[in-house]
């Protein structure tokens, strides 16, 4: 065993003070990745700063066309939210298929995005929906936020407080889950809205979530699953592992993209 101190600050400034000057401290969201990593002794933070009790970190608010989801809102709450179902049903659907019920009741949207696991579901939604990531310091467009697997634009003492998502005219997420982990082998989020047609892919890229220009162009011209058939999907830059080769994942991208479009 190794000692770790647990903190539950009530404000952002208290949380920042706990993180300041201590590079062995880590932010704790829902702990669905971090606690498992600690149990494996692959991380041993001296201090855990649980940000879930900070005022305003949880919950969902809406305007006519946009959702603001607090960073500490669990996947289960996003999945069950009437507001999310009304304004962006694809996001509620995605949240309802993350991991298993235990993961969904503890895991948080902010934690998922900050971790940027290359097979996590939420990063695909954020990128395709052109979401804005709100932190204690600034607002970051999703396009500028995800910088490769497990890498984000976040600074050391920067804390995600919320995400803002605009409602899309059409949106859907299709995932081929790895049966043991329930992470995406390949997940494709398609969206058509004010930001145009955007297609984001998780699980497949060698360096995390990415947008697919070919699929976006084809679906801009013709929003139909048959349009997806004509798109060249290269295996270059895709991941090969014991679950599947890059070529297999390239084919899954096509299949999942078609399913997602067909579901809209």
């Amino acid at each position: 065993m190794y000692p770790t101190k647990y903190h539950k600050p009530a404000s952002i400034s208290d949380a920042v003070a706990l993180l300041a000057g201590n590079d062995e401290a880590m932010i704790l969201g829902g702990g669905q990745t971090l606690l498992a990593t600690m149990k494996q002794h692959l991380a041993a933070p001296s201090d855990l700063v649980d940000i879930r009790a900070i005022k305003g970190m949880s919950g969902i608010s809406t305007s006519d066309t946009a959702l603001t989801i607090g960073a500490a809102t669990t996947h289960a709450d996003v999945a069950a939210s009437k507001e999310v179902k009304k304004l962006c049903p694809a996001l509620a659907d995605l949240a309802s298929h993350i991991g298993d019920p235990a993961v969904r009741s503890q895991g948080t949207i902010g934690g998922s995005i900050a971790n940027n696991d290359p097979a996590a579901d939420y990063p695909a939604a954020m990128l395709a929906l052109a979401a804005t990531i709100v932190t204690n310091k600034r607002e970051i467009a999703a396009d500028d936020f995800f910088l490769g697997q497990f890498t984000t634009a976040l600074e050391e003492d920067e804390i995600i407080t919320a995400v803002k998502v605009n409602a899309a005219t059409k949106a859907a997420y299709a995932k081929f889950a790895q049966p043991a982990s329930l992470f995406a082998m390949v997940g494709v989020f398609v969206a058509k809205g004010a930001a145009g047609v955007r297609v984001a892919i998780t699980g497949a890229g060698d360096d995390g979530v990415f947008r697919h220009a070919g699929l976006e162009a084809a679906l801009t011209a013709d929003w139909s699953d048959s349009a997806v058939n004509e798109v060249a999907i290269s295996a270059d830059g895709l991941m090969s592992d014991l679950h599947g080769s890059a070529e297999y994942r390239a084919n899954l991208i096509r299949v999942m993209a078609k399913r997602a479009v067909a579901a809209t």
């Binding site: 971090l34 692959l42 041993a44 097979a119 697997q149 497990f150």
Partner: protein
Amino acid sequence: MELTGEYRIAAPRQQVWEALNDAEVLQACIPGCQELEKTSDTEMLAKVTLKIGPVKATFGGEVELVNIDAPKSYTIQGEGKGGIAGFAKGSADVVLAEDGDDTILTYNASAEVGGKLAQLGNRLIQSTARKLAAAFFDNFHERLNQSTPEDA
């Protein structure tokens, strides 16, 4: 796992070679390197912290320069233990070729990890190793290009 890359550096080969043999330069360029102490002309002790998502492990180990053919090429190899996290080892063949006033640096690196770290799976290890190798040579390239006077 094999990693390769090529860089054009706006500096004469001798200067690039000296930098490649300078412990201070190496420490500044190795991602996450906290300490690098020379124990002989070709051997160093290093402490490197590796961060992959939630995983953070500090490796202590030895770095050695072998197959030295000054000022054209060498192999830099290292092996470190990260406690319960496991071990990592890697090597890179570095070749310097003259091209006018510039130097072309090519590398061919390999990396291997074992222990609990390896359980993270190939997907993480391979792309992380590729990123780390690229980060080292990016840093090195940037540092040398900065330290070269405009009229050199």
